[in-house]
Amino acid sequence: MKSRRITSSLVASAIMGVAALAPLAVQAKCTTTIGSVMALTGSLGALGQSIAKGAELAVDTVNKAGGVNGCDLKLSMLDDQTSPAVGVSAAKQLVDIHQVPAIVGALSSGVSMAILTSVTAPGKVVQISPSSTSPSFTELAKSGKTGGYWFRTTPSDALQGVAMAKLARENGLKRVAVLYLKNPYGEGLAGKFSEYFKKLGGKVTASVPYNPKQPSYRSEVSSALGGDPQAVFLIGYPGDGTTVAREWISSGGPQTFLLPDGLESQKFVDDVGAKYMKKVLGTAAGSVNTPSLKTFDSDFQKQFGNPPTQAYMTNAYDAVMVIALAMDKGHGTSADTVKNNIRGISGTAGTAIYAGAGQYEKALKLIKEGKRIHYVGASGELTFDKNGDVSGPMAIWTLKDKKVVQDRMMSVSTINKVLMKR
């Protein structure tokens, strides 16, 4: 675990070194530090290692274009080991010791929720998660408990649950069992899916929660198998999810899998064995094909030598960009500056600004001239509503030749049509 943290900090310092040497870099005398809490180890570790690179790329891009308010932007990243307790102490460290105005993270909804309720909301620090999709954040924001400091660059699972319900019905599935991880992510997604699957004429034969790190999941699977389902909607993360999926197959469950964003991982598919997954219907936060995505892809390739493949890398990139632009717009670095200016640099009004260092420089110029801009993210339009949520299309993924591939997008209007259904 230690060695990984050292590697990632080496990578980070190497990036900074490159940034300092880059001819474009304006000599900055000051530094603005923002925090980040991500799962670099633990059951989400496989995804987190990649997502972190998206955030690192954004920091590099901002610094290439002259930084924030003329100061170098620095990202102080800590590992939460996919555990709420570790995440909270990491966030506390960032807020109390480094006094960061904003935190990018966490990845797991369970960890983000713990940080939001015990560190960032009471401490009045902005928190932007790239991948926490639980609908419970929207509920919390509606009741005013986030103080407006909560944002996320990924759509809520209220949308993913609907998309999965529609996808399952489109594929002729009528009876589906749900096996979900007992945390805000699993509970939220399972709830939304069940609600809309029923509305669309399907039947949830069993809805069974499971705890992480259990010695065996045989009984959970046995009880999910009751009611003769045609498929299983397995909600979780690769670590325990692999055990549950293998147990499902071993117990003779139908090999049709509905899988959410948390399990969109090649490692998960390889460990379970693609030959046992006859049919896979997957959903994840999708992206509108914005010009930003192309820039992100090529910048990423240049920086890390391989193309970005993991979901949520763009969302992490956008989270950092949004914070940086809000600081520029508000001519400050405080949490309230970020909070009050995020909606002033997103939405649809004014000139569109895309990803990349050149566009960021253009944004700085326009802000100086007092013109309205809006950032179009690599992950999508990014229009934050009053709860800090964005809406967006959902990506549909599946397996082709044993590889995880994104098939198509389910548009916002398609999802909204289902949502309107009574």
């Binding site: 675990m1 705890n211 010695p215 055990t243 117990s251």
Partner: protein, 299 residues
């Protein structure tokens, strides 16, 4: 449906029982709660995985099982290697600390050793889960309403054989009798000419071997993970305590009771609360019979 949960419980209970026997044995003879026992379990599973890898993975298989003869060899080798690891641990850590009479030092040291051993696995083998075979066995009906995989039947069978073997060892051999004597009263045993140091060594060998086999069994039916032993540790302790700490047959019974109770509970309450069942059961038993089900009277 009940029969299926019962079968699930027996499979899990078999691994827990073997692990708990080793734990209770070391407690009885060495007189301390060994928190590093869980890590011996994990190391055993990884040792066997190494041997399987050396043989080029699982190729030929015996009958319907998912593995071949190299795997049987791997179990034996894992038991040997885990015994050596336990002896090294004893020599490096516990031998020195046994001289002090403060029991808690040993317990805390074992906790430290457990963390060390667990993280060493991550360093050597990596944090990702591993499997003995990429193939997944599909469960077959063996009785009306009960489906199991051949591997699960093998695991239960192996546990039964080992328990019978252990019983014969403890009752029929000189060494086994000596171990029971030391466990009853170490000073008296020493006075009557039993080499206590030798008994201590053999305790580690038997305990370490059983832990390794339990780890392999768990790895075969679930998965191999650096955390596996640590995650199982609470169940091992509750099995040992439930059965009556120090009682070998109690530990076996305790392991089965814990495994079956946890799996059967799903019929009555949400699986979300499954982990609590083992501990509630343990507390209830201790309230009724403080020495555990088969435990001797507390002195």
């Amino acid at each position: 449906m009940i029969a299926q949960y019962l079968a699930n419980g027996i499979v899990l209970g078999s691994s827990i029982a073997l692990g708990a026997v080793g734990l209770t044995l070391t407690y009885n003879i060495l007189n301390f709660a060994n928190f590093a026992h869980g890590s011996l379990l994990s190391w055993g599973a990884y040792f066997a995985w190494l041997v399987v890898l050396v043989f080029g993975g699982v190729q030929s298989t015996i009958g319907p099982l998912s593995f071949g003869w190299p795997f049987i060899l791997a179990i034996v080798a894992a038991a040997l290697m885990a015994s050596v690891l336990a002896l090294v641990l004893d020599w490096l850590v516990f031998r020195v600390l046994r001289k002090s009479n403060i029991q808690v030092t040993l317990v805390i040291a074992s906790f430290g050793a457990s963390l060390l051993l667990r993280n060493l696995i991550v360093v050597v083998f990596g944090p990702e889960p591993q499997y003995y075979s990429d193939n997944i066995q599909i469960a077959q009906p063996i009785l009306p309403g009960v489906r199991t995989t051949p591997d699960e039947l093998f695991v239960v069978g192996l546990a039964v054989v080992l328990v019978i073997g252990l019983h014969l060892f403890l009752t029929r051999t000189r060494l086994g009798k000596a171990m029971r004597a030391v466990s009853d009263n170490a000073s008296l045993a020493q006075v009557s000419g039993i080499n206590v140091h030798n008994v201590v060594r053999w305790t580690w060998v038997v305990g370490g071997s059983l832990a390794a086999v339990a780890g392999v069994m768990f790895g075969l039916t679930v998965q191999i993970l650096p955390d596996m032993g640590f995650n199982l540790l609470l169940f091992l302790f509750s099995a040992a305590i439930l059965g009556g700490i120090g009682s070998i047959y109690g530990a076996i019974l305790g392991g089965l009771v814990i495994g079956i109770a946890a799996d059967l509970s799903v019929l009555f309450i949400s699986p979300a609360y499954k982990p609590a069942v083992a501990f509630i059961l343990m507390i209830v038993v201790l309230l009724i019979k403080p020495s555990g089900i088969l435990g001797e009277k507390v002195q």
